[in-house]
Symmetry: C2
Subunit: 124 residues, 2 copies
Amino acid sequence: MDTDDGLRIDAPHRELLDQILDKWSLSVLNELCERPCRFNELRRSIPRVTQKSLTATLRRLERNGVIEREVLATRPVAVRYRITPLGKTLRHPVDVLLAWAAQHMPAVERAREGFDTREEEAVL
Amino acid sequence: MDTDDGLRIDAPHRELLDQILDKWSLSVLNELCERPCRFNELRRSIPRVTQKSLTATLRRLERNGVIEREVLATRPVAVRYRITPLGKTLRHPVDVLLAWAAQHMPAVERAREGFDTREEEAVL
DNA sequence: CGGAATCCCTAGGGATACTG
DNA sequence: CAGTATCCCTAGGGATTCCG
């Protein structure tokens, strides 16, 4: 559990995590873990995301194999995004992360206040 | 474990994770989990990080309470960074994440190749 | 040694308009 | 509906220089 060295962080790993843990990906994955979604459905359910950013996020996640894009031959076209089996394996790591954030947010906020106070004093 | 809804991702949580899971933070945390480090020690042990980026990363982590900065009154000054108790609680989530990356990297690479191949064909 | 300050530069985000 | 295309603009990274 707490081995001495733990795991190395090499460039490919960090690049992968950067692509999957970026600003909007967590929200998208969370949403698609619950149910498949249309593009505008996702857009509405994720506050403040722009169409451009959402498109880029979806492409990146699709390229990395964690979500799937399915075009339905209707008029007008409908597109359905869904999580893949690989994407589902991300659920646990992400949940662990979110649980950490939820649990320790108060401690972080206290730390921030202390830090900012010390900064102010340093200026005086 | 796999509750239906899992956890929400609100703005404060995402902001916190952004600050802690960014490009260089994982490497810094990993290093400081093993032992306290001087500034240039960290710099040498993290390939390709610049002094500016490292400074910014350390300040951010310090502000969020996961690392500590200690100035030793020597000549010339020495500065020692160490992980805090709060920072140590990050170890498990981060390890889970790195384990995921290590385990699924091959699948991700296959997905990328498939995606890129389909893209090429689409152009033709 | 451990930064801060400066300059430069580009990847990426927001807004808007257009399309199959 | 689900994007693509375009313009604009600024936050942030790299390189370099200077300081206590």
